[in-house]
Symmetry: C2
Subunit: 322 residues, 2 copies
Amino acid sequence: MNLKEIISPIDKELEEFQKQFSGSMKSKVALIDLITKYILKQKGKKVRPVLVLLSAKLCGSINQRTYIAANLVELLHTATLVHDDVVDDAKKRRGLASINAVWKNKAAVLIGDFLLSKGLLVSLDNGEFEFLQTTSEAVRRMSEGELLQIQKARNFDATEETYFRVISDKTASLIKTCCKLGALSSTKDADKIEALSVYGENLGIAFQLRDDLLDYVGRKKLLGKSTGNDVKEKKFTLPLIYSLDNAPKKKSAEIMKLIKSDSIKKFESVYYFVEEYGGIEYSMKKTEHYGKKAADAIKDFKDSDAKTSLLELVNFVTKREY
Amino acid sequence: MNLKEIISPIDKELEEFQKQFSGSMKSKVALIDLITKYILKQKGKKVRPVLVLLSAKLCGSINQRTYIAANLVELLHTATLVHDDVVDDAKKRRGLASINAVWKNKAAVLIGDFLLSKGLLVSLDNGEFEFLQTTSEAVRRMSEGELLQIQKARNFDATEETYFRVISDKTASLIKTCCKLGALSSTKDADKIEALSVYGENLGIAFQLRDDLLDYVGRKKLLGKSTGNDVKEKKFTLPLIYSLDNAPKKKSAEIMKLIKSDSIKKFESVYYFVEEYGGIEYSMKKTEHYGKKAADAIKDFKDSDAKTSLLELVNFVTKREY
């Protein structure tokens, strides 16, 4: 199944979401409306609202609370992207000029803050305190995970254990939140809510494992996709961590020395090292393992188009080439 | 009264706040603790917690809910400062190197997000949904106010009416929130809560009026304080708006032309224009007017040290030279 087929069971609901999402960005300030209209033109894949909607559909039926949850996560996500582009000084986003490129940094940061406050207000105005609690926890974990990764990169002391903690916090926490909120919106059954949380957590881990793997092997498959960024930034991801643990000590020490150096040709050597000592293979196995855990978490739900889509999504995430 | 005397009725409570504030920034991630310890060394004036504590004391007594409110506004404020320094590429903050200067932009943005999520969680964990609602409204208004100001600066169409809307949104909304939350934490009396809200709103407007005035007259009084920034950024504040409205049409047109130009010597001419056509005097009168409104709002409370401090704070804000 491709992404379009995966989202087909919620086509109409996604349209309704889009309408409410546009509405919740409205302001009395003309400049804000101008910028948010532009944001709506930068069409993303809407992975987060899709997860909220599919999870809600699996556990019951999509309702107004589901749209509030989808709005909350998408407003938060959009705010983050706008802020990220300021920090990274990115000039493009989804094929269009970035907000900071068109309206400058100050306005971009303010628009991000505006969207964030709107996400909070949509939830508060509707008394959705549990949605907010879950989401705030995720925001805390996302920042903690990224900062832990920065700390480990600085000290060169990443281990497999801390790696999994990092990706669970920085990536899986929000994916899990999407699935959990979707479930919360359509059922009170604690087992179902827990099942969707476990699904989301493991899907998120599988997603990040695949992402980190593609930073090594992507270039073999696709032209124009840059690889080696993590090595350049001295980020230790699973392929490298595993290989360092399993290669002869002397070999690992050589590679560590190379990584700490500023040699621009180091990715080549690190790549062959990682391939030789099983890092690639191990990462692929782990990705499959977490994908399977995600799928297992929802296996007891009776068959439905939402279930098929969520299972296909696991397949898509663990096998994607970009 | 100087600031030290103003805060003397809440000396001990401010210490307790500081303890809880430090505690609420804690994390399992060592790098976060390192950075937040550094933030605590950048000692600010703690205006916001002071307003929360004094307002609570005026309406009843300071209690655990008061500390939660003070924590929420100070965590939010701290997050904003850290993010601002990234956007402005500021190298210093309160006499020390800024977070972005020491730990780079990425880490600074993440720490800001972390602090923000902690502010939300402190409120949510304690069921303080009303605090959160009030604060989220303020965040929305702050971003809307600043964006409206940017919009007006671009279109050169600021009026006295929009100026007051801008400063009410971008500055007064958070000052008002501090006073309102303090009151909410110690009383259920709607009149008292409203009185403190009105006090905070007007104090905030007076504060910004004085701030904008100092951008014109500061250099006359204090060495080393830069002025003319607003004119440079084509920001229309009250002294200029009033003078443009009241000078002969031809004079105003000349000044407008000068402001739109990139002449680096324009501030000199704009300054004399503003002084000649009454903008300085009018601004001072308006500052006094809003200061008086703030003081009037709490005049029916019976005399106490908290009341004296809040009244002295009005005096301090409307007369400060920096």
